[in-house]
Symmetry: C2
Subunit: 463 residues, 2 copies
């Protein structure tokens, strides 16, 4: 029986205790974007520190301008063939609203029996508490079963991933030496499907802008002023309508600079994946791809840039009616970026695009919520091969090298600031309802994810 086999048995034997720990973390509503939850974010950070200390890590919650950053050091001494990895995850979660759509309290995790097997339902069940805990529990498995870890591990768990990771860049800058490692492991992505593991090799960037349009200096009676007064909701609607043409092409000047066509071989691999567009859209009640005409859904969500409005509000939105012309209206706009698109150039171009469309008597305020470029992950190199082999051993299928519609700016920061490449391995699924009501994480994702990390750790340590 190899060391890894012992670890896997320990993980299986301790599954319910592992779940109890995950549930305890989920019960802390660490919503980083809402200052009302700052205390909860602090609690979650301290909780993670405690976990790491329990398994022999030297860990602490570090102060930042925003939410605390958890850093822990543990495992074997690096060098002499023992790799030093930097593991990344985040303890913060998205807001739970709209609350009324949750079947039970979002921060009261529960195990639900479904035709697809048992599922953990709660905000953060997958993104990213359930995900990063698979790695922490894998480390615990090694310590429980063998008393040690075969590799050197630095753990970095941040608390602002869902709110723009403002403190991360500065923190990496000021902790280069402490965080310098051979490469990074990031657990915030998905599997190809419930049975097939994946390593993500492509990440879209993200530009987050909020625009606030103001016209009159107060709300007006639409009977008294209607017809003569500028309506900022109409101004905002016009701007949003102008952002795309009939073919779904984004109209911000220069937006597509740096966007390249998918390499033929990658496109061929993707076409060969047998991705079921109808099922992917049908799962959420849709049937027709709404993106750029002539692109496959995989291209639209993995390799093409997008622009979406994530929220809009203005005027009277309560029950009944109020015949008012609002003084202001606002919208949250996000852009997913690919290839070499420059988020800062696009931000400037977008703001100019908006200003050009402002009629008389209107002012606009721009609020930036973050800007990060797209990423190509280098998948040559022995560690990726070892990780892929370990995943195949656990799931009995080769790991798919896939793209990822989401954005994990950290990967760019690791490369640019620390000079380390990242390997992105996660166990989320398309139907996890991440960022939505009733978010879930399959128990099999949590269990096999933990086992898979145990194997990866063993493989990287030469076990």
């Amino acid at each position: 029986m190899t060391a890894t086999d012992k670890v896997l048995s320990a993980i299986d034997a301790n599954l319910s205790a592992s779940l109890d720990r995950l549930f305890a973390l989920i019960r802390i509503p660490s919503v980083s974007t809402d200052p009302a939850h700052n205390e909860d974010c602090r609690k979650a950070a301290d909780w993670v520190v405690e976990q790491l200390r329990e398994i022999g890590f030297e860990a602490s919650a570090r102060e930042t301008g925003g939410q605390p950053m958890v850093v822990g050091h543990g495992g074997a001494m690096p060098g002499n063939g023992v790799p030093h990895v930097l593991f990344y995850g985040h303890y913060d979660v998205q807001p739970a609203d709209p609350l009324e759509l949750w079947e039970t309290s979002p921060f009261e995790p529960r195990l639900v029996d479904t035709p697809q097997g048992e599922q953990i339902v709660a905000r953060g069940a997958c993104d990213d508490k359930g995900q990063f805990m698979t790695f922490v529990e894998a480390c615990r498995g090694w310590v429980d079963a063998t008393g040690s870890l075969p590799i050197a591990i630095t753990v970095l768990i941040e608390g602002e991933e869902e709110s723009g990771s403002r403190s991360l860049g500065p923190f990496l800058d000021s902790h280069k030496d402490e965080l310098k490692t051979d490469f990074a492991l990031v657990c915030d992505t998905g599997m190809w499907d419930a049975k097939t593991p994946a390593i993500n090799t492509m990440l879209r960037g993200l530009l987050l802008e909020e625009i606030v349009v103001t016209a009159a200096n107060r709300d007006l009676h639409s009977g008294m002023y209607g017809g003569a007064a500028r309506n900022p909701i109409r101004v905002l609607a016009r701007i949003i309508a102008d952002l795309h043409d009939a073919d779904g092409q984004i109209q911000v000047p220069g937006f597509y600079d740096g966007v390249e066509e998918l390499p033929a071989d990658v496109k061929a691999q993707w076409d060969g994946l047998g991705f079921d567009e109808k099922a992917f859209l049908g799962d959420v009640g849709l049937s027709v791809p709404a993106g750029e005409t002539g692109r496959s859904v995989l291209e639209q969500i993995w390799s093409r840039p997008t622009c979406d409005v994530n929220g809009i509000i203005g005027g009277y939105t309560g029950g009944g009616t109020k015949t008012v012309i609002a003084s202001k209206a606002s919208a949250k706009v996000s852009f997913r970026l690919v290839g070499n698109q420059d988020p800062f150039k696009i931000r400037d171009s977008f703001r100019a695009f908006v200003k050009e469309r402002l009629p008389a008597d209107c002012e606009v305020e721009f609020i930036s919520h973050g800007a990060s470029p797209a990423l190509q992950v280098d998948v040559s190199g022995p560690q990726v091969a070892r990780a892929a082999a370990a995943l195949e051993a656990e799931f009995d299928r080769p790991a798919v090298m896939m793209g990822c519609g989401g954005s994990i700016p950290i990967v760019g920061d690791f490369k640019n600031t620390l000079g380390v490449d990242s390997i992105l391995i996660g166990f989320g699924l398309d139907d996890d309802k991440v960022h939505s009501p009733n978010e879930k994480y399959n128990l099999s994702s949590f269990h096999h994810g933990t086992r898979a990390w145990a194997r990866v750790i063993g493989a990287l340590g030469g076990a």
Copy 2:
């Protein structure tokens, strides 16, 4: 000393008691559109009933499907040259939000000393509590000073004017005999300016529609689905943007059917009023008329139809960001109607206009919040002449026969259901911030308004 003179002296002597009564009514937050305030509406209705009983009216609050209707009968026996008038006002008010923009609590009335004189500041100070109380206090003045009223008066104070007056039509239908009178007096409009009285002769109609656009069956992660998933906020924005062309013309097919050009003489009279467009817009921080190109502001707000979006909401609208593609987005749209525009034909055409613009996978729900045609008031006839003379006597200036941007559907209902014409006299001013934070009513409007009604009552009674 004539009877009217005695009444005017009594009104002057009792002004502070009159104010106390108005303040007591204002303190009841009778917001009819919000079910949370149903109890307050009931309280306000009972309070008005009590006032009418105090001055000898036989009054009661009548049940309806919505808020109670106050009906009171008092004054002289009709006939033998003694006219019977139906007085209309409403005790309900608009919601007070946005609360943070109020300098003090909206339902805690206060007298504020300003360069323009003392002002009553509170929600409902003008619309319509301050306004209709001028008539009630005028009646009280007659009763206090002479022990009686020279005309027969039926008072009708409704509680749903700010929420579509749903119960009014059915109530008039079922109370035709009780409410049959010679003509109606309506106090819900404005003066020409702080020194010049007015009688309104033109009222825009109102069509209130709410549209709810739904795409996916749940909110989606814009990273996972962005590019492929339909975004209802974008769909709604496109529909709103399509409602007007570059010249401010409304694009709903058939919208302008029944809209006629202003008669040359009326236009000449309006042009002669010396209306200060710059001041009217400048008062609310605007400078350029935003309506149909080539129309004067008075035309835009008095005699031209309009379409405005009074509210819009969709997706994440809290602090920070949430990279979500919302499942639904909604907007409240209102149309001001003139001439012979048919609100029901326009509603059908508008709904078809919206449906034509729905892309694949989108559904729309329409919620109707009311529909009423525009009104021309007949101003020939001796009562109008008597009322105008009484106004001139009080303000020492002739009353302006003016248009009105707002909508008072009741006038149409009185004509169609009861067969009575209405005379619209009110004492509001353009800067009263009706429907806005810090709504106010000049003390002079309240005081001279009460005195003016006392004179009108006297004149109609042949005093």
